[in-house]
């Protein structure tokens, strides 16, 4: 229970949002799962970026006589049913997954956040219309909707990403709208309204920056789900098409070999698992670190 409120008197130290960010960082570093998450994410990011330089093989190169070989020194992750090196494919697959995370979130945030801001700040019928559209999107099971959009857009990994992004934006609209509705009542918003600033400026310069923390945390948690959703689409054949080494489709294709050559579906599966877990751990820790009650006034 906070019984005292440390008051701050005249200032002698350096500027503050640096202090704020620094505090968030410090708190993050103190959280073991957060650090673990960051490490895992770091590894995967590194693989995603530097991958092609680390594994020289061609992910599509088939070597049929060598099919379904277990892990060995030549092929550390073994080979799949077409003799392709699984390690290479996992590396390229990770690249794709990272892109997936980024692109899906980009689409979702770019559509969802402005809509939420407009709905929240304008109110009235604009708000009603936007919210009803949001509700319609949200009333469909997201995977089903993603599938439907995917079918319309056509097959392929990029279309799958677009489909998932188009299904994802409503959550951001709701999230941002809620934040803005409550921020709207703050004194500092009333203050800038009383100073005659335009609605656009108020939303852009004052309201949205204060929702940044929540959006960031939500996005970091969603990256994992985005990857899973896209992998899911590929799994059922709507996303990545062969021979694209997408982790989900690798699991799908390798399913039948689970009992005989476990490395074929398992290793890509584990790659998905670790990527998503890493991001989730980080997102959770980030949320805890950014909790305003911890930061104080």
């Amino acid at each position: 229970m906070r019984a005292i409120e440390p008051t701050r008197s005249a200032v002698d130290e350096a500027a503050a949002p640096e202090r704020q960010r620094f505090k968030v960082w410090r708190r993050l570093m103190r959280n073991p799962s957060g650090v673990a998450g960051m490490v895992i994410m770091g590894i995967f990011l590194l693989v995603a970026v530097a991958g092609p330089y680390l594994v020289k093989a061609d992910p599509a190169a088939q070597d049929l006589p060598l099919r379904l070989q277990g892990p060995s020194s030549a092929h550390p992750f073994g080979t799949d049913q077409l003799g392709r090196d699984i390690l290479t494919r996992v590396v390229y697959g990770t690249r794709i997954s990272v892109q997936v995370g980024a692109l899906v979130l980009f689409v979702a945030v770019t559509i969802g956040v402005p809509l939420g801001a407009i709905a929240g700040y304008t109110g009235g019928w604009v708000d009603e219309v936007i919210m009803r559209i949001t509700d319609i999107f949200l009333s469909f099971p997201s995977i089903v909707l993603a599938m439907a959009i995917s079918v319309v857009l056509g097959k392929g990994i990029y279309n799958a990403m677009l489909a998932v992004g188009l299904v994802w934006w409503p959550w951001y609209t709701r999230l941002v709208r809620g934040q803005i509705l409550s921020l709207k009542q703050s004194d500092f918003i009333r203050a800038v309204e009383s100073q005659g600033l335009s609605p656009f400026r108020i939303v852009w310069h004052h309201l949205l920056p204060n929702t940044l923390a929540t959006i960031t945390v939500q996005a970091s948690l969603d990256v994992g789900y985005a990857i899973l959703a896209t992998a899911g689409l590929s799994f059922i054949g709507l996303g990545a098409q062969p021979p694209t080494p997408e982790l989900g489709s690798m699991v799908a294709e390798g399913r039948q070999y689970l009992t005989t050559s476990w490395w074929v579906p398992m290793l890509p599966g584990l790659a998905i698992f670790f990527t998503v877990m890493g991001v989730n751990l980080f997102g959770d820790a980030l949320r805890d670190a950014m909790d305003p009650r911890e930061i104080g006034r």
Partner: protein
């Protein structure tokens, strides 16, 4: 000459229930209030919670849209302005808010907070703007170097100074001060009250000073208005209000203020009951449920605000 003329201002909030948002009743926050403020003067507005003083202040500035009534500011009918014209006029009528912890955007520097509207309205740009901000900061008792710092590094009193600087930066004629010292430590309150008075002399601004403490309001105001449940019950020059208050509520308010003097024999008027809700307020005179002078007529007819002496208005059937 009057800088501000408010006539029959009404602000009702709808109270709705249910999924279909049916209007169940109205919260009559401000119910037919009129007042005048002369240029360069301070009008103090006092009352307890639910009296509508804050809503009145916001409605005058059109931060809340009045349900009906007229507000004429510097000769301009505010109710006739569209959104754009209103925004353009806003620099001339500013506000200082109660809570120093929530009235400043935590993500902007002090300099940005104070200078933003100055830049936006084209009052000054670039170096000129920075100098304006520095000057103002100094004038409110801070350092120009504070412009690069963030609000949370400052104490409540200092934050309030920043808020005042922000209001004055756009060169307003009227400043509505909504409980500007209530959230501050006692030892800091007098600093800020003094600051308000100095700035009024220097910048020639007019204040609408809203507070719940009659002692504070009386000290800074030329004229005081007492509100109860959305109505103005008494209005008079401040000294007159204190020495010869007429309305029973004003008397109760004065008597309820604990004086820091144990020997002062306070003729305590202790009111019965709590302040009723502004949703469906009592019939007739709204104060009758707690008034020791109440008679039958007080329950049925609403008293009008009439002049009982030079510049002294009261709304009571028993006076």
């Amino acid at each position: 000459m009057s800088l501000l003329e408010v006539r029959h201002l009404v602000k009702w909030f709808t109270v709705s229930r249910g999924t279909l948002r049916r209007t169940v009743s109205y919260l009559k926050a401000v119910d037919d209030v009129s007042l005048d403020i002369d240029e360069g003067k301070t009008f103090g507005l006092v009352g307890e919670s639910g009296c509508g003083k804050t809503t009145l202040g916001r409605s005058i500035l059109r931060l809340e849209q009045p349900t009906s009534g007229d507000v004429v500011f510097d000769g301009i009918d505010l109710m006739k302005l569209n959104a754009k014209e209103l925004r353009h006029l806003r620099p001339r009528m500013q506000a200082v808010f109660q809570d120093p912890y929530s009235s400043l955007n935590p993500r902007l520097t002090v300099g940005e907070i104070v200078g933003e509207a100055v830049e936006f309205h084209g009052i000054a740009r670039g170096r000129e703007r920075r100098e304006l901000v520095s000057d103002l900061l100094r004038r409110v008792g801070l350092e120009p170097s504070h412009a690069g710092r963030y609000p949370h590094e400052f104490s409540g009193g200092q934050r309030q100074r920043i808020g005042i600087a922000r209001a004055l930066a756009v060169k307003p004629k009227l400043v509505v001060c909504d409980e500007p010292v209530s959230a501050l430590d006692v030892s800091v309150q007098s600093q800020i009250l003094n600051l308000f008075q100095e700035l009024q002399e220097e910048f020639k601004v007019t204040y609408l000073f809203i507070a719940h403490g009659l002692n504070v309001v009386k000290h800074v105001s030329d004229q005081v208005g007492v509100m109860y449940l959305g109505k103005m019950v008494e209005m008079a020059p401040s000294e007159e209000l204190y020495r010869s208050s007429l309305h029973p509520y004003t008397k109760a308010l004065i008597s309820a203020i604990p004086a820091p003097n144990p020997r002062q024999n306070q003729e305590r008027i202790i009111l019965e009951g709590d302040v009723p809700s502004a949703v469906d307020p009592p019939s007739g005179c709204r104060f009758h449920t707690r008034c020791w002078l109440a008679r039958e007529e007080c329950r049925s007819s609403e008293p009008e605000l009439r002049e009982a002496g030079p510049g002294h208005y009261v709304a009571c059937l028993r006076v």
